[in-house]
Amino acid sequence: MTSTTTDTLAERLADVWADLEEHLAQVPILRRLDEGTVTLDDYLRLLFNLRQQVVDGSLWISRAASNFDVAHFELRAAAIRHAEEEHRDFLMLERDYVAVGGSLDELRAGRKNLGSEALSGYMFHYADRPNPVGLLGAMFIIEGLGAQRAAGWAARFQEVLGLADGQVHFMRYHEQADSTHTGDLDAILTSGIIDDAAADDIVRCAQVVARLYALQLEELDR
């Protein structure tokens, strides 16, 4: 990390993002995707692994919503909206999985990989805290991946494996949906309601989530 205490929150988060990008470049499945050697089995495995964590997404967001008091009314409102928007997402992922030949029963019977366990456990734990403002850091990472990387991954999977749009709904949808969410997030982060202590929490949470998200992707090759 190169940031100093004088950096703004946006600059500190940009550093976390840069570290994450560096890390993702070493993740085996993303390397294969980049090289064009990724297989249909890789895509199925990616969806299978993501699904087990994505299915928890709106749960930890709504848990966080329930822990914001009236002093954090705006954050609570945003979290409630966000949870509602996300809680059907895993169904889209499941349809993609079936559309490329996967079995819905097997997908739903699947369990989290070690990275997903750590990520999901951390999110639920964090969401249980009173006023878990630091979770904005988690949103920054997860929504950022959706907005900035998922569509690129989808396009590359389509290019290498010859997939139809109808087989990559989940990743394509997130480009648009998560751009909206990151726009909302930017508005919150620059609204002046984040004090220095909250900013430290946000950056720390972003660092942990970035690391665990990459771990989740690494673990699907184990």
């Binding site: 294969r32 297989t39 559309a99 494996l161 997939l163 139809a164 749009d165 109808g166 090759d221």
Partner: protein, 384 residues
């Protein structure tokens, strides 16, 4: 973006032992001198030397049409190394199923099993096979199904037996098909990925067109003339009246067949004109036709466009497998594929003219190699 559709499994089923020209009479009857003379004439013209019937030596049915379809499907699925459960769509073509209701595909699926599937029953005549293929290919390309199976099946023989002709005035229109049609089924597996270990046939396009707007009915059953009349179809009059009127005979107006050949060639020319067929890169033609006379007409037309086309590039198994209507094109494709006629990079045109009321279907295929194995075989997680 849409996915690409590949044909990855091929199968066919021809019931019983092959029946040569002398063995027809024991199955279909018609050993009186007049019928005998007509049969010889028709057989001389169509060039068919052997065929299969789902009839025993006494002319009694041995199987249902849906059984032929399921056996061809089993052959295609086994050729691909998958089960019926791996297929999410089943498109079935036939001229006449075993029963009036429900649809043929429902009966085939019921017998095949393999879990829930999207079904399509395509009714028609010979070109219904490629209409079924078109639908399956479209759904696979849309990404709605990773795998589909297509089958075309015919069991015409039971309506060609003597008891149908007894006491009924039947001219050449009924005899022509009687000594031409026989039974069989052919199937293909369609997938959005090529076969992992061996070449596949990529489906470049499928086209079907009807010219019924400017042609009368050529092939018919269920009405007493070329035009249906209100209150006079087989469903309106009594069954015995319909039978006495010869409505259950399959008839073809043979005087229209030259027009059919001409119209089919015009459709081929149009596909060349709009660039879908590049005659400079067309390696194989698998064509369905009812008699060798039309093979020669079609071949001459192709020669005009492709002077270098030699007869090896043209494939049909009409002479040895018979004219199995809609099933013919898949039975021919299966044999052409299995006997190693196609090499990676070759292009293949499937062509099916349908006399019913002038329909024409074509499909353009390219032989593609299996995907590179390097990526798939590299141990997971090992950096290079």
């Amino acid at each position: 973006m849409s996915a690409t559709a590949y044909l990855t499994g091929f199968g066919s089923y021809l019931p019983g032992e092959p029946v040569d020209n002398d063995g027809i009479v024991t199955r279909l009857g018609g050993d009186d001198p007049v019928t005998e003379r007509i049969r010889r004439r028709v057989l001389d013209a169509n060039g068919i030397r052997q065929r299969h019937y789902a009839l025993d030596e006494h002319g009694e049915p041995t199987e249902l049409n849906e059984e032929l379809a399921v056996k061809a499907l089993h052959a295609a699925l086994s050729d691909r190394g998958i089960d019926a459960a791996d297929v999410r769509m089943l498109a079935c073509a036939t001229t006449m199923g075993d029963v009036l209701v429900p649809g043929f595909a429902s009966m085939v699926h019921g017998r095949l099993g393999g879990g829930p599937k999207q079904l399509l029953s395509v009714a028609g005549v010979c070109a219904s096979s490629l209409s079924a293929l078109d639908a399956a290919v479209s759904k696979v390309r849309l990404g709605d199904h990773p795998r589909a199976a297509v089958v075309a099946s015919e069991l015409a023989s039971r309506s060609l037996r003597q008891r149908r002709y007894d006491g009924i005035r039947s001219g050449m229109d009924a005899h022509f098909l009687r000594w031409m049609l026989s039974d069989g089924a052919g199937a293909v597996v369609v997938e959005f990925q090529p076969h992992p270990d061996r070449p596949s046939l990529r489906v470049d396009w499928v086209r079907q067109v009807s010219l019924a707007h400017e042609h009368d009915v050529c092939m018919r059953a269920g009405m007493s003339g070329p035009e249906p009349v209100v209150g006079r179809t087989w469903q309106d009059v009594g069954i015995s009246e319909a039978e006495a009127a010869g409505m259950f005979l399959l008839r073809q107006d043979v005087s229209m067949l030259d027009d059919l050949a001409g119209a089919g060639i015009a459709q081929f020319e149009e596909l060349v004109d709009i660039g879908l067929i590049d005659v400079g890169h067309l390696d194989h033609v698998v064509c369905h036709y009812s008699t060798n006379a039309f093979r020669d007409v079609a071949f001459d037309a192709l020669r005009r466009r492709i002077p270098t086309l030699d007869t090896d590039r043209w494939f049909s198994n009409l002479e040895t497998r018979g004219n199995t209507g809609s099933a013919s094109i898949f039975i021919a494709l299966d044999e052409a594929w299995r006997t190693g006629r196609f090499a990676v990079g070759d292009t293949v045109l499937l062509a099916v003219p349908e006399s019913g009321r002038f329909s024409f279907a074509f499909a353009h295929l390219t032989v593609v190699a299996p995907p590179a194995r390097a990526a798939a075989s590299r141990p997971e997680g090992v950096s290079t």
